[in-house]
């Protein structure tokens, strides 16, 4: 059977364990940090479900070369509880966690001792490993945080008569990416040049075929298994690779992420109400940008919905992780007197003064907010 699959691989990269998410605040940031470890369990389950022959982890697995013990201990424990004697796992140092003498990858580091024998660290540029199905893996680690040499250049070319399935694994930026010159640039035709049947690469956080015309042999970025930013295109996946007897590789993207990152712009109270009605907010990381000028009652409603979405000291928020940009939420002060009828004369005079103050551009925001405070406090007083 020429089409018979003789080799199955799981290709992942860019775990960035230990990354800090400082634009979300301590508590929310922690959720995202922990998620980076939690997704590993799902990745390994995918490997088991697809009965892959090997797992390729193509770099940037830690966010820095010397992560805190907590991170690498958990990774080691995750592997240790599996008995994958015939399913080797290959861990490749990337540009974030390069192979340095003091790094977690170095031979004397306790992480190495904690790993099962079937987990292999790519710790030399001439790394070669025989895989099932008459296949061989060539992998080249990053040994610094920046470099201008194409790592695939260290992979030997296919020798005449070599009929094995040749798999490559490196970490770096393909030539079409910005700043690639000093970030281990990878020739987009490297797979062809080096005689590889599949080239597993890491660095970009979105799932991507390189080059985009999907020429064979495939060169793939699987992307980060959990997204790390809003602008990442198609993250949260791993690649399942099937290679047939004719050495033709086929790739399927398999989703593994828990968190889904989303940017939402709300232009009116209706949009905000609609967002609040959504039932899928719990595992969403949402960058919510408000751009609306609303009268006091709607402003109050918006504040209430925002409290509901982001949570309070006493109640958890409905959105998993929220980054709120409320600079565009403004109070429409025209006609505010109608909403403040029945207040004592002094407060009516105060409203007039605050309205005047709001005409001064330097004081506008503060005066409008003061009007809203007055409105809300007075309403609470009336209840």
């Amino acid at each position: 059977m020429e089409d018979e699959i003789v080799l199955k691989l799981l290709h992942t990269a860019d775990w960035h364990l230990g990354r800090r998410f400082r634009n979300f605040g301590e508590e929310q940031g922690k959720k995202l940090r922990f998620a980076r470890l939690a997704v590993l369990e799902r990745i390994l389950m995918q490997a088991e479900r697809n009965a892959v022959d090997a797992v390729l982890c193509a770099g940037d697995l830690f966010d820095e070369p010397t992560p805190a013990a907590d991170w690498w201990e958990q990774v080691a424990a995750l592997f240790a509880k599996r008995g994958w004697k015939n399913r080797p796992v290959f861990l490749l140092p990337g540009n974030h966690d390069p192979f340095l003498p003091e790094s977690v990858w170095a031979a004397p580091h306790p992480f190495r001792a904690a790993l099962p024998a079937w987990v292999h660290v790519v710790d030399r540029p001439d790394f070669e490993f025989a895989l099932p199905g008459n296949a061989v893996l060539y992998a080249v680690p990053c040994q610094s945080k920046a470099g201008q040499r194409d790592p695939t250049a260290s992979i030997p070319k296919r020798a005449p008569g070599d009929e094995r399935i040749r798999i490559g694994m490196v970490h770096g930026s393909t030539f079409d990416l910005a700043d690639c010159q000093t970030n281990f640039p990878i020739d987009k035709n490297a797979a062809i040049e080096r005689g590889l049947d599949y080239l597993a690469i890491g660095d970009t956080h979105g799932f991507r075929f390189v080059p985009p015309d999907r020429l064979v042999p495939p060169t793939i970025y699987p992307g980060a298994p959990e997204p790390t930013a809003f602008d990442e295109k198609d993250p949260g996946k791993v690649a399942i690779v099937f290679v047939n007897r004719q050495r033709r590789a086929m790739v399927r993207a398999e989703p593994v992420a828990y968190w889904h990152w989303e940017e939402v712009k709300v232009l009116n109270i209706g949009g905000l109400r609609q967002l609040a009605k959504r039932g899928d907010l719990a595992n969403r990381v949402i960058r919510l940008q408000l751009s609306m000028r609303v009268p006091a009652p709607e402003f109050e409603e918006a504040e209430r919905i925002l409290d509901e979405l982001k949570g309070t000291d006493a109640r958890p928020g409905r959105i998993g992780v929220l980054e709120l940009d409320r600079q565009g939420l403004e109070l429409e002060i025209a006609g505010i007197e109608q909403h403040c009828m029945g207040l004592p004369d002094v407060l009516q005079s105060v409203i007039g003064r605050l309205r005047d103050a709001a005409n001064d551009p330097a004081q506008r925001l503060v005066a409008e907010r003061a009007l809203f405070h007055l409105y809300r406090t007075a309403r609470q007083g009336m209840r």
């Binding site: 400082r22 634009n23 820095e64 540009n95 974030h96 003498p101 003091e102 040994q143 610094s144 945080k145 920046a146 470099g147 201008q148 040499r149 930026s173 700043d179 010159q181 000093t182 970030n183 660095d203 930013a229 980054e323 940009d325 409320r326 600079q327 207040l343 004592p344 004369d345 002094v346 407060l347 005079s349 105060v350 003064r353 605050l354 103050a357 004081q363 925001l365 503060v366 005066a367 409008e368 907010r369 003061a370 809203f372 405070h373 007055l374 406090t377 007075a378 609470q380 007083g381 009336m382």
Partner: protein, 1096 residues
Amino acid sequence: MRFVKLAVESFKAIRKAELEFSPGLNVLYGPNDFGKSTIATAIQAALLVPPGSSEAVAYQPWYADAVPRVALTFVDDTGRYWKVTKEFGSEKSAELRQSKDGVTFTLDGKQREVEEKLRKLLGWGIPAPGGKSAPRGLPSSFLANVLLAPQTDVDSILTASLAEDVADTGRLRLNKALATLAQDPMLKKVLDVAQAEVTRHFTPTGQRTRKATSPFALASDAVKKLQRDLDELRGKLDESQGVEAAVIASQERCAAASAEAAEAAAHFESAKAAFARDGARREAQARLEASLVGLAGIDAQSSRVRKLEADWKVLEEKARGAKRNHEAAAAQLATAGKALQQAEESLRTAKSADAARERELRRVQLEKTLSEIGAKRQNLSAAIAAAKAASQAEQEKNAAIEAARSTRALLEKAERELNNAEVEAGLAKAILAYGRWRVAGIRARDAEKATERAAALRADAATNEEKVTALEADLKVREARIEKAKLPSDETVRALAAAERELKIAEAALGGGFSVAVRSRGQAVRASVDGKKELAEVEAETILEAQRSVKLAIGKTVDVEITAGAPEKRRAFETLKKKWAVDHEPLLTRLGFGNGDELAAAAREHAERRRALGVDRQQLDTLQKEITTLLGSADREEEQAKTLAVDAEELNRLKALIGDADEKILSRQFDVLGKNWEAQAETLLTSRTRTLDNERQKVTQASKAAGLADFKSAECTKRAAEAALGAADAKELDKELSALTAAEREAKSALSALSSAAGDAVQKAEAAVAEANDLIAEMENAAGAARTALDAAEVAAREAELELASVRGVLQTMDRGAAQSVLDARKRELAAFGDSRPTSESDVKAADQAAATKSAKLEEARQELHKLEGALSQVAGAAVREEVMRLEEALAIAKQQEREIEIDADAWKLLHDTVREVENEEGAHLGRALAAPLTRRFAEITRGRYETIKLDGELRTEGLAVAGVHVAEDEVIGALSVGTRDQLATLIRLTIAEQLKSAIVLDDQLVHTDRSRLEWFRRAFIKVSIDAQVIVLTCRPGDYLLESELQGDAPIRDVSGGTIRALDAERLFTRWDAPVAVSEVRTGSVPPPVSAGAGR
């Protein structure tokens, strides 16, 4: 605000007085005109009157030329102590000190600053001195009047108005204090919420609160931390980007240099090729010409063969003709011989024997002559033929020599080309060897450098290890020392310090000074003052001056301990002292410290040592990490050195392979080859070796051709020499032949004459014999001629045949078809060169030079890139770039959040301030605020007679309602009795002081008040004095103090369960009209009871 202490000296009637006020109700009593009002004036002077003011003239002592001095200590609303000291008259000085604990004061301001600061502190509506609106003389304002009014001026209180205040500080203060009394519930709610938010976010002075837990501080700290991290990362990013930009620029330079070098190398190769092609073209041209010559030679040889064949055929025909002529002549000669025999027979018959004998002799002679001539002629013909053959041989020799010379030239040329090819091949071989030697050299040098670097790294690691050892030893010693110190926790130290401070404050609060007169009646008395531990023996009669305590030991029977201060303060002090003795002193004693300060200092020092130890331990860790890094780097360098190492023997072997070629040329050639030098050099060597083999074959062929040509030339020369050997001069031979022909004709003529001399018969016979002889001679001549012709023809034919054979032999060695093919090929070869511009040797040299320069540039660029690659491996690259972007985003968000917090807090403040501002401007609440409590109290006093009191926004009494009838403002004064007006004015003042929580001085109030109302006021004063300090100056102490309370011994007494402080002016004041002895009061103590009141 409340007053703590007042000290007056040389002030109007008072020479000296010192008063300590309690925080509540103080009743200073004394007879009329004793100087109680002077106390009120002194307070006014201390708080309001600048030392240079005209008002100060009135402060001069009545009976002495002394400097009036006043010192007032008070506590402001925030609990801070202030002490103002002023000297009036000639000295004119002012000084303001402040203190947190009322014990230790620090200077806050002097002279003019004092008034400015005081008026700001008081907030009584009095502007700072010196301005346009600044008051002259005694400054006044609504609040100054209310709180410090001089002896009763009831009406001025009832008609006083805030509107008359120059500065609005009094109004603001009242607004603030009274605001909550008269607000709408909604307004109050808004204000309460706003106030709570403002309090949460702002300090009392309106600054954003910066406590560690405040939202501003938290947000600002977050921003600062992010900014700090970002700045740090930006530093790394700049470094990284600098290196990256340099690498990219270097890559571009390298690529450009590579392109230029390749272009220059290509140009050089192209020039070389063009030059070689030109040479080849010239050679092809020469070869073509040579081929043309060769072909022409073959054609000439062919023509010659054809001509020789024709000649030979003609000569053969001629020889056959001559043979036929010779045979015919021989036949005619035989016929003529027979005719002669017949004629001679006839003659013999006709002639006698003698005559006939003579004639016969003659005839024999003539015939012998003719025969000799014939032989000579034959020899001469052979000589002529030999001469012709020699000439022909000479011509052939010359042709052969020319052919040999031409072939030799071709051989020499081939040999030259072979030589060139050998040189080129040698050079190619040397380039290859040189390249291998040079690469090995570079590797060897790199290995040496790596070894040197490894050694340097190990040396650095060793240095660090020494540092580590020293540091570890030092740390052990220091840790042991810290461990040994065993100081209590910081919390204990702080608690101890706080307790000590509390004890000191409590002890200080006891201060006030007193003296103990000791008169011993024989027993030894030992004493210690103010807590000194050791008791010292004192004289029999002595006065002990003390601030807080005196201990006395009288003999061995009595110990007396006297402690100053109010009872509750003493109790507090004792409690604290016991607590100190139990809780803290043992610890201090155990640790060997004299006091808490020493312990705190030791604890600070200890903490500092711990911190320094921590820093050094971090340094130790850093050093150890550095050592690991350095050793790791050294290992890598050594590994690299091993990989690169080349031994000297191998280098020498490679060097020997280069031979004696010029290294400069080799270096240039090597550089030109560039990256794939070895393959190119090998290709070049192969190509040149092939060329060399071709040239060698050519030389072999040319050598063979030259040998053949030489052989032919030698053969021809030999033949020509042989031919020339027997050949005579042809012209001489022709002359000889002509002479021989003439001699033959003469002999024949004589023979003919001889014959005619015999008779007819004889004649006839003789004629016939003669004729026959003639005929025979003719026939013999003809036969001889035919024989000669035949011989000549045969020689010519044989010679022609020989020449033909020789030429044919040469022609047979020539292949015209091949020669034509070669010619065609060479024509094509020449045509293939085209018509390009010729390239000179100097062009090639220039191209070579340019290629070498570009190659050097490329090498330079590569070296630079190599160095930068090293730098690049040390920077953070894309990782830090991404981190900076993330941090920038986080910082923007944090700043936005900070701004949001600020906007929110500022909005609360704006709302709060605006509400207050509107309230103040509308002002109505002030009157409402005061009216309610005032009305209530006034109704109580008047038993409900007056229902409401109205005060306007300026707190002027607007009117009151009496049993439903309204009394207008201008009628109030007239409507009430003097006593009631006094009571109303006092109530207004008291209510305002209560709301302001401020001290109030009431000087001889309520003199027209009946007993029951006085009792009411006494209770009201006590009640008010919970919030505000009330100082009553009165000549009627019985209005406020019980009889028993007036009986105390001390001039200052806390009575009524501590709610009232009674101050006896007679015992506290020293007046100018007092006896001299009394005036000798020592500073810091009050006069002894024996002299008190002497000035009355």
